[in-house]
Symmetry: C2
Subunit: 300 residues, 2 copies
């Protein structure tokens, strides 16, 4: 774990909260770093918007993090990676790592010696239309089927993420409302049945399911149940871990980060909209309390 | 219909497409007008964002329409009306009409001589938290129960708006997919059952349901079916018609607009994100083709 007196400053950027699932993987792997995280919450979601708009938003967000001292930028947002990675690299002077190439690599290697088969990618409308995953998978010799799932982000942000987790995430809020919990889970399950049913009909030979949006890891248990119901056995992978490993490699701190413990990292959080909402929702994605979020105006 | 040689220029503003349901009511009522419509699609949705951000977005959007010659501004967005009406009136030199006061008036008078009972308002998170509807209803002697329904806007934008309408809106897209249509309708029905079930439990004496978001009129048939299922008989009203009548009154053209026919009005459309998407989704809200949309950059 790098013998420097002071660890690197790593910028992590997302349109909102989802990128915190990537930060969550970075913290134990590179615990000596200082993290500056920006959620561009005043302009989210990116996934339903056009390339031109996404590029404009992503570049202004990334420049903010570079100005805050980031020595490396993690684009912890699939949509921004899919549509703006080249523009971000051109606009910044620091290294930029996205989530799509690491995700595709994880898909290619997750089965060990077993061939990965076709890869089914669930993602936002904009990510699907960019075909960034199909291209990244093809570069590794894999064929990808891409499926847009526009309702999954709102369902996650509403906290309708499956029976077990809703109770945990909402604390005592729904203690007396068992029936609503079950009904909310039923809605999410039905939406997943529709999306996965449509996608798997077009991808009968896929053996790997790649979660191409940083919101989707929170739906992992519900997705696993739906696959069971549909009688399909697919390896489910998300790019958060793979991206964190790419960052560690780029910084030359690969391998023994965990031994150093997760407690040393320091974090600054910035959001372009309500800091209260960021602290409340963000904690769910990071898996620990998010505190001291600072409001920033990017001129939106 | 106003004897002027040239009709007024009316600005209509929404965060996206929903305001087109208000324009749809304005066209036959004030057919001699020229309409300039702005959908701030690069920054939607407003309904999940903070007051400060909504005010900033609404004021910049409204100023654009004033610069384009609007002589009166219709804030055809419940969230912007709820959180930014005073700021809009302060920032502009032209009259500003929102959707909330007309909606509350419609709730107060829709039953004729029968008392309207309590009013149940369905709206976005931001509108509910502002309590703008409760205040507007209280001013008319009515008690309002406000219920946030964050998933309804994404469901409408996905086109999952009930069996009958999906087929109509999506044309041949789903002709061979009867089962998916039914499944999508089932999702929307279940979401409505959850929201309306929760709301009606808190509002046992309500007899009027006010649709406090301009997306919701597209769910009207599904909402009526859900109320039937729940065994509740409520008058369902939306503020689009009432708002159009307020505008006609303000312009002194009340009453005989319809006789002049809907064909004379001219419209210019502006959007801050993809014009293709605006034309595609917008036609569904306006009920007629939307063409010639122009892209505008408000600096977001």
């Amino acid at each position: 774990m790098g013998g420097t007196a002071r660890g690197p400053t790593i910028g992590v950027f997302d349109s909102g909260f989802g990128g915190l699932t990537v930060l969550r993987e970075l913290l134990p792997l590179i615990p000596g770093a200082h993290y500056v995280y920006l959620g561009d919450t005043a302009r989210l979601p990116y996934g339903s918007k056009s390339r031109e708009t996404i590029v404009r938003y992503a570049v202004s967000s990334a420049r903010f993090l570079e100005e805050r001292g980031a020595e490396l930028l993690v684009v912890a947002c699939n949509t921004a990676t899919a549509l703006a990675l080249d523009e971000l690299r051109a606009a910044l002077t620091i290294p930029v790592i996205g989530v799509i190439a690491p995700g595709a690599e994880a898909a290619a290697t997750c089965g060990g010696d077993a061939p990965p088969g076709d890869v089914l990618v669930l993602a936002t409308q904009a990510t699907v239309e960019s075909h960034a995953y199909a291209r990244a998978c093809a570069a590794l010799g894999l064929w990808a089927i891409e499926k847009a799932c526009p309702l999954l982000v709102p369902l996650v942000e509403e906290g309708w993420i499956g029976e077990g987790q809703i109770g945990a995430a909402r604390g005592t809020w729904d203690a007396g409302r068992g029936t609503w919990n079950a009904a909310m889970s039923a809605v999410t399950a039905e939406v997943l049945r529709i999306y996965l049913g449509e996608a798997l009909r077009d991808a009968p030979r896929s053996r790997t399911l790649l979660l191409g949006c940083t919101h989707y890891p929170l739906l992992r248990p519900a997705i696993a149940r739906t696959l069971d119901e549909l009688g399909r056995s697919l390896r489910v992978i998300d790019s958060a871990q793979a991206t964190a490993r790419s960052v560690a490699r780029a910084l030359g701190v690969e391998g023994d980060g965990v031994a150093a413990g997760p407690g040393l990292a320091t974090c600054e959080f910035f959001a372009t909209d309500s800091v209260e909402k960021f602290e409340r929702l963000g904690s769910r994605f990071l898996g620990r309390p998010v505190r001291g979020v600072q409001l920033v105006d990017l001129g939106g």
